[in-house]
């Protein structure tokens, strides 16, 4: 089976372990990733702040490239890219007359033939394969953190349920983890304010990390590079804001699945995290 692949900029830089683990897991489950040729940046959280049309044109260019390459579906693991791509797709579907204008801007035809999917959606299709291949169950209590962009706005993404989503929890359970029922699954981490308003990010991440630890989670599991960098890289600031020293690691779901499948941790980029991925002796969850 093959699917279009849009890694996005972060996955080549600060979140390369997400790229590595997505590729490793997809290879293990027999899903071939076909990279969108000569893809550009989607504009992420910046383009829409400055210009709405730009924020639609950049993703449209990516989808048009995919369309030209004969792809019908593109997987965007980065939740921010996913959100921009599906947002542009949905807006152009709602206003088909804008397709002409956008085609002129990007200098290539855009028809809306390419669907956009997130990493949870794709993995859900392989849930049984993943379960069968989970030879080393990830027997830990985990707090699945979805963030904003995978489930909102519900009318655009049309994925899982907008509050208390379940798909990541179900996938984690398939590989032996015990997802906790917790209230911060979709609370915002501060997203693109990582650099400009680190204080705000620290405050918002503090609530998330603190709640997960209180409810005895051993790891936070995410599917978004922005969430990851805020929860992992901004941990010193977060801990300072909380006045605590919380060392709960933050893993990408694909890393959790990869580990359970017995893929070598290095191949999954586990060593790249700021908060070391280390656990206490196995908990009761294993038994």
């Amino acid at each position: 089976m093959r699917i279009g692949y849009y890694p996005g900029c972060s996955l080549l830089g600060s979140s390369r372990e997400f790229n590595e683990s997505v590729k490793a897991v997809c290879e293990a489950i027999g899903l071939e990733l076909v990279e969108v040729p000569d893809w550009n940046c989607c504009g992420a959280s910046s383009a829409h702040v400055l210009d709405h049309e730009l924020s639609v044109a950049l993703p449209a260019k990516i989808l048009a490239q995919a369309e030209a390459a004969g792809l019908t579906e593109v997987l965007a693991p980065c939740a921010a890219c996913y959100s921009r791509l599906i947002g542009a797709y949905s807006e152009l579907e709602k206003n088909p007359d804008h397709k002409t204008r956008v085609s002129e801007i990007i200098e290539m035809p855009y028809t809306g033939a390419v669907k956009v999917v997130n990493v949870l959606e794709v993995l859900e299709r392989f849930a049984d394969v993943i379960q069968a291949k989970a030879v080393q169950p990830f027997a830990r209590k985990v707090a699945c953190y979805y963030g904003c962009l995978l489930v909102r706005p519900p009318k655009v993404v049309n994925f899982d349920r907008p509050e208390d989503p379940q798909v990541m929890d179900q996938l984690a359970a398939k590989v032996g983890a015990t997802p906790i029922d917790w209230p911060f699954k979709t609370e915002c981490c501060g997203a693109a304010f990582s650099v400009t308003r680190t204080d705000l990010v620290a405050k918002l991440c503090g609530k998330i990390v603190d709640s997960a630890v209180k409810l005895q989670a051993e790891a936070l599991v995410v599917a978004c590079p922005m969430c990851h960098s805020n929860l992992d890289m901004r941990r010193p600031e977060t801990n300072a804001a909380l006045g605590k020293d919380l060392q709960i690691p933050v893993l990408f779901l694909t890393q959790v699945i990869g580990l359970a499948m017995g893929i070598e941790p290095k191949k999954l980029g586990i060593q790249r995290h700021m908060v070391p991925v280390a656990f206490n002796a196995p908990t009761g969850a294993q038994a």
């Binding site: 349920r161 907008p162 509050e163 208390d164 209230p183 709640s211 209180k214």
Partner: protein
């Protein structure tokens, strides 16, 4: 040649202010067929009517046109006057010089000319009018009331007390409805059961009322005064005559873990049960979906312990067909469930309850005997948050309307809570306080001023659980939208009032209209609030829109009065404005070709198929026939008929063409 009289009314200044009425009289006098034309200041007044009657006699008029206001108001007045003077009332027509002319135009020559033209049109209509006789249909003086809540009980009692027979059908095992679940009622705080139970008993014992509980309407045919209704009497699996209501079966039933509907899931009941202690009838019913005997053939305890052998496992549903003259729908409402609120936990938090659950907690007959205890751990909640407009006025949740009762019952809840938990604190998140009604606003003020409920103007964005508390995240829009976070022990959602499940199906069974939310539609929002568009079917209570008890009772009585008025006659007189399928001499019999497009188009099921037979009884042709008892004269069939075989009495094609041609 016709002898038509034209009577132009000034309507004070209403018409004469812009239309030159004497000129209209003068102009219309010249229309062929008009033999008399006058104007007068108030034609509807007694002298005005006398003027018409005398003119009819003096000038031997055979048709009348009154050029005045809209026929909605005074057509009956003038037709009656014409009839009294010996002219068939359907040969008296009105030209609307007010709404259609004087009120919408400036004062000038053209306006007066238009007024004269409007009269000219009506003169042509009168020329082609045929004398019509009101239609008479017999009346079966038995009413069917569907729904045994307070609306249905009140309606049934009023009709029964007027001396007519009533069949009261209720789908659950007992009458009483939502009101029987309530603790105390606003704005007087009297005990709901205490005021309702006597009415329930009265209904059950009334010689004119036949109670059918655990029953549902299956089929409705016929028309006003002459309905044929089939009711499914579901098997209670208990012989009601043999059962003494001793309750031994209920006590001994081993399967006691079924969520109790009457207590809104806050308690359990056995598989054979009486819904609540004051139930009417006070006889048990077997819930076959949950009974061990019906699931796997084992058990049979109830049958073994019953001293009178009243358990009937083999009892079947019965279909009972009856003749009914009028139907009153009183099927009530349901509340939106807490699982419809993603942001409040999809119903997963046990201590986030709805208003009806709070009623059960506060009720002396409830699972906690009236002590306020939260469902999760039975602790007395010290902080309770009430959220008004939960799901109401919320287009995202599909309910843009106001549920009307929540503001009042939430204020009541805060009072009941404070009266029972003196040190407790109630918070109310609200958007507006809608407390219009006698003593209503004073009641809300009392909750705030005396019982110290803290009202916060804003909606709650989210509720989640943390450290055994429910974190309620709201905002205070009276403080610039400042976020407000309350750590609560219990949250009560005043969830939206919605139409009953399957109300659309029921409406279709009865051929009555309903709105897009499933509430039954009244015939006119102001002037016919308890009638439906289907003659002989009336509405009472919350099946039409959200209502509180006083309004429901008033509406029940209103519907009862409508039925009593209908039953005061042995025969019904109806307007003869009905469609007629033509009949002609053989061999054609009718220009109707029997395509029955009209039958599909008719909104009132008024079109039947008639077989035309020869002397030997052989069918020659099947043609359409209009049942004048059902026909409402809407004319849809006339428009649909491809062979122009249908005409509307009083509005024939010929008449309409003549009216147009005169212009």
């Amino acid at each position: 040649m016709s002898r038509i009289g034209v009577f132009t009314c000034h309507c004070g200044e209403n018409i004469a202010g812009t239309v030159d009425c004497p000129k209209v009289a003068e102009l219309t006098r010249q229309i062929p067929g008009v033999v008399h034309s006058v104007d007068y200041k108030y034609m509807c007044s007694d002298p005005g009517q006398t003027l018409i009657k005398e003119a009819i006699k003096e000038h031997k008029l055979d048709g009348v046109v009154v050029a005045a206001c809209s026929p909605r108001m005074h057509e009956p007045t003038f037709r009656k006057a014409a009839a009294e003077a010996g002219v068939n009332p359907y040969l008296c027509e009105m030209a609307n010089l007010r709404e259609h002319c004087s009120w919408v135009h400036e004062k000038n020559e053209a306006t007066t000319q238009k007024a004269a033209d409007l009269v000219r049109i009506m003169v042509e209509k009168v020329k082609h009018d045929t004398p019509l006789t009101p239609i008479k249909v017999p009346v079966t003086k038995t009413a069917l009331v569907v729904g045994g809540g307070i609306a249905g009980i009140q309606t049934a009692l009023d009709i029964a007390n007027a001396g007519h027979q009533v069949v009261l059908v209720e789908k659950s095992p007992s009458i009483g409805g939502h009101m029987s679940q309530l603790s105390e009622t606003f704005p007087t705080l009297d005990c709901s059961q205490c005021i309702l139970t006597p009415r329930m008993v009265e209904a059950a014992q009334h010689p004119n009322i036949k109670l059918m509980t655990y029953s549902e309407v299956e089929k409705v045919d016929g028309f006003i005064g002459n309905f044929k209704v089939t009711v499914r009497k579901k098997a209670k699996k208990v012989d009601e005559k043999a059962c003494t209501g001793c309750g031994l079966c209920v006590t001994k039933c081993p399967n006691k873990k079924i969520p109790d509907e009457f207590n809104e899931g806050l308690a359990f009941r056995p598989a054979i049960y009486v819904p609540f202690p004051q139930a009417v009838p006070n006889k048990p019913t077997i819930d076959t979906a949950n009974c061990t005997y019906f699931k796997n053939g084992k058990c049979g305890v109830c049958s073994k312990v019953c001293p009178t052998g009243a358990i009937r496992y083999d009892q079947e549903d019965e279909l009972i067909t009856m003749d009914i003259g009028a139907i009153v729908m009183a099927t009530g409402f349901k509340l939106m469930q807490t699982d419809k609120f993603p942001e409040y936990g999809y119903g997963k938090y046990k201590d986030v309850i709805d208003g009806m659950q709070f009623e059960r907690l506060a009720s002396a007959s409830g699972p906690t005997a009236g002590v306020i205890k939260r469902p999760s751990d039975g602790k007395e909640p010290e902080t309770v948050v009430f959220i008004a407009c939960s799901g109401s006025r919320d287009r995202a949740k599909g309910v843009p309307y106001c549920s009307k009762i929540c503001c009042m019952y939430t204020a009541k809840h805060t009072m009941l809570y404070k009266h029972k938990v003196h040190h407790g604190q109630a918070y109310v998140f609200y958007m507006d306080i809608r407390s219009a009604g006698k003593d209503y606003d004073e009641f809300v003020r009392r909750a705030i001023e005396e019982d110290e409920a803290k009202y916060i103007r804003g909606r709650v964005s989210r509720i989640y659980e943390e450290d055994g508390k429910l974190i309620v995240k709201g905002a205070d829009t009276l403080m610039n939208g400042e976020p407000v976070e309350i750590k609560a022990d219990m949250v009560v959602l005043a969830t939206a009032v919605q139409s009953q499940d399957r109300s659309e199906d029921l409406a279709q069974t009865l051929h009555i209209s309903y709105d897009k939310y499933g509430f039954f539609a009244e015939a006119h929002p102001k002037l016919r609030p308890v009638e439906t568009n289907t003659a002989g079917i009336f509405l009472a209570g919350a099946c039409q829109a959200p209502r509180d008890i006083p309004e429901t009772v008033a509406q029940g009585s209103a519907a009862g009065a409508k039925v009593a008025a209908l039953f005061s006659q042995d025969e019904l007189t109806r307007e003869p404005i009905v469609a007629v399928v033509n009949r002609q001499a053989p061999p054609l019999f009718s220009t109707c070709t029997g395509c029955f497009l009209c039958q599909t188009a008719c909104p009132y099921q008024a079109i039947e198929q008639e077989e035309i037979k020869d002397r030997s009884g052989r069918v020659i042709k099947t043609v359409a026939k209009v049942n004048p008892g059902l026909c409402q004269g809407c004319g849809t069939c006339v428009a649909f008929c491809r062979t122009k075989a249908i005409d509307l009495a009083g509005f024939s094609n010929e008449q309409l063409f003549a009216e147009l041609m005169t212009l």
